[in-house]
Amino acid sequence: MNEKINEKVSVVTVFDREKRTVTPRKIKWQGRLYTIEKIGYHHKVKQGKKLLHIFSVCNNSLAFKLEFDTETLFWTLTEVSDGLAS
């Protein structure tokens, strides 16, 4: 089931200088810490001149859609899914 969330969350990221990548590794949402095991897809979206980085990530039971706002540098959790039919 997919659920829209739209909440600001804390995210631990790793910047890899050699691969030139930034990867979210952990999410703290509603007091719980989730470790990210896989990055499914990363893409960018423009809202006017504002650039958002969208990360679709998951652990073995939940998938998260994270939005990084390059203007405010805030992370927003926009969607959570358990990968099952509703």
Binding site: N2, K38, G40, Y41, H43, K44, V45, K46, Q47, G48, K49, K50, L51, I54, S56, C58, S61, L62, A63, K65, S81, D82, G83, L84, A85, S86
Partner: protein, 421 residues
């Protein structure tokens, strides 16, 4: 005139992403992989399935079914709404990758492209090697779950047919040597461009298989079956000669919307038309055109259809100018009490704005156009619909972002707005 099969080396490659939108969702969310997934215009029962995953197709779920029917076939199907920015991003990454191999890349839709290698050397590599390499790089650089079918032949028609022979993840070549064998494996409607009506027309002239079609004399196709030059084009196409390498110029801008809640309410329909017109107007202005014609099309809940177009003496540029004419045409429809299921507007008679005669004195019209340009700049800076016509208040979530089927022209907007990396 008897023309032989094209015996040239196959140099045209067609690449087709398998189950595009559903695969993109499975790529983004690994928990969906290996499960039946359908991307639908709406996730409610009447929503139309626009992309079933490979797994969903095994249950018989097809494009065009509604969600209710899909659920009958597979109770556990995962139905998702479309996420156009994600699909556009994949398309752009595809496009960038393909351009590393050939300067002649022609996107055919959001999930299909033709790469033409006729004008370049391959440096001791076969086109099959290039196809395999592209497939590997897509998996490594774009997404490990993404598969494409590659078809190689001497023209676009046969390379598309080749790509459809093995799905998913195929790589097939059609040459003059195996052409007849390939035609034996498929039916008339498997040929791109032959629908059931054309099939009936061909059947009426004793053509029942693609092989019959290939063996038909040119005169039969031109003078009896198609009764036009189209017959000649088919005669060439079937033999592997290129006839479809034609890029058409832009002639119109249009937007359409399938209503989630059917209505005949005049105010509600006017608001929807305003939003469609604003989206259409934004695209018209972004490309630097004015329009002199408006076309409105309506599909009712009883599947009847009404449409009308009109050309005007003054050219239109602002959303206000376009909307007035849209309403003028829309109000001409009969049976205004009938509930509307789908609305479409388009503008035509395009002229480049720079060639429009400037006025010596600043009139109300020039002031309005300047105001529109200013509003467009604000929307470019802060996002779509930050400034909207008053009629559109409170409807920012209606008329959702969509990707047109086979919308090659829509892709032009995509390239002009793409984020460079």
């Amino acid at each position: 005139m008897d023309l032989p099969l094209n015996r040239n080396e196959p140099r045209v490659m067609h690449i087709d992403m398998n189950s595009c939108f559903a695969t993109a969702e499975q790529q983004a969310n690994p928990l969906l992989r290996g499960k039946p997934v359908a991307v639908a215009a709406y996730t409610t029962g009447n929503g139309c399935v626009v992309a079933p995953s490979v797994e969903a197709k095994r249950y018989g779920i097809r494009v065009g079914m509604n969600v209710r029917e899909a659920r009958f076939l597979c109770r556990d199907i995962i139905v998702l709404p479309p996420d156009p920015p994600k699909y556009r991003d994949i398309h752009l990454k595809f496009s960038r990758l393909f351009r590393e191999y050939s300067p002649d890349v022609f996107p055919k839709s959001i999930d299909e492209a033709v790469l033409d290698f006729t004008s370049m050397p391959l440096q001791n590599k076969s086109l099959e090697d290039v196809g395999s390499q592209i497939k590997k790089r897509i998996k490594k650089e774009i997404g490990d779950w993404i598969t494409v079918s590659v078809g190689i032949s001497t023209n676009r028609f046969l390379s598309k047919l080749a790509a459809s022979l093995k799905k998913p993840d195929g790589l097939e070549t059609v040459t003059w040597q195996n052409l007849e064998n390939v035609y034996r494996q498929v039916t008339l409607v498997d040929l791109c461009g032959i629908n059931t009506r054309y099939q009936a027309r061909l059947n009426a002239h004793g053509i029942f298989t693609p092989l019959d079609f290939l063996k038909s004399p040119r005169d039969l196709l031109v003078k009896q079956v198609f009764r036009s030059i189209v017959g000649h084009y088919w005669y060439l196409r079937l033999r592997g000669w290129e006839i479809d390498a034609v890029e058409f110029g832009r002639k119109s801008f249009g937007q359409s919307y399938a209503l989630g809640q059917f209505t005949s309410d005049k105010k509600e329909l006017a608001r929807l038309l305003m939003k469609l017109t604003e989206k259409m107007g934004r695209r018209l202005r972004r490309h630097g055109y004015t329009a002199s014609g408006i076309h409105v099309s309506v599909i009712y809940t009883d599947y009847t259809h009404w449409h009308q177009g009109a050309t005007f003496s003054t050219e239109m540029y602002t959303t206000g100018e376009l909307f007035k004419k849209v309403m003028l045409v829309f109000n001409r429809r009969p049976n205004q009490a009938k509930k509307v299921a789908k609305l479409a507007v388009s503008c035509f008679g395009l002229a480049e704005k720079k060639f429009v005669q400037e006025e010596l004195f600043r009139t109300e019209k020039t002031r309005q156009r300047d105001a529109t340009d200013a509003a467009d700049k604000i929307n470019d800076r802060f996002g779509e619909f930050v400034i909207t016509p008053a009629l559109m208040l409170g409807m920012d979530k209606l008329v959702l972002d969509r990707i047109a089927f086979g919308g090659v022209k829509e892709l032009e907007d995509l390239y002009t707005n793409s984020i460079t990396t």
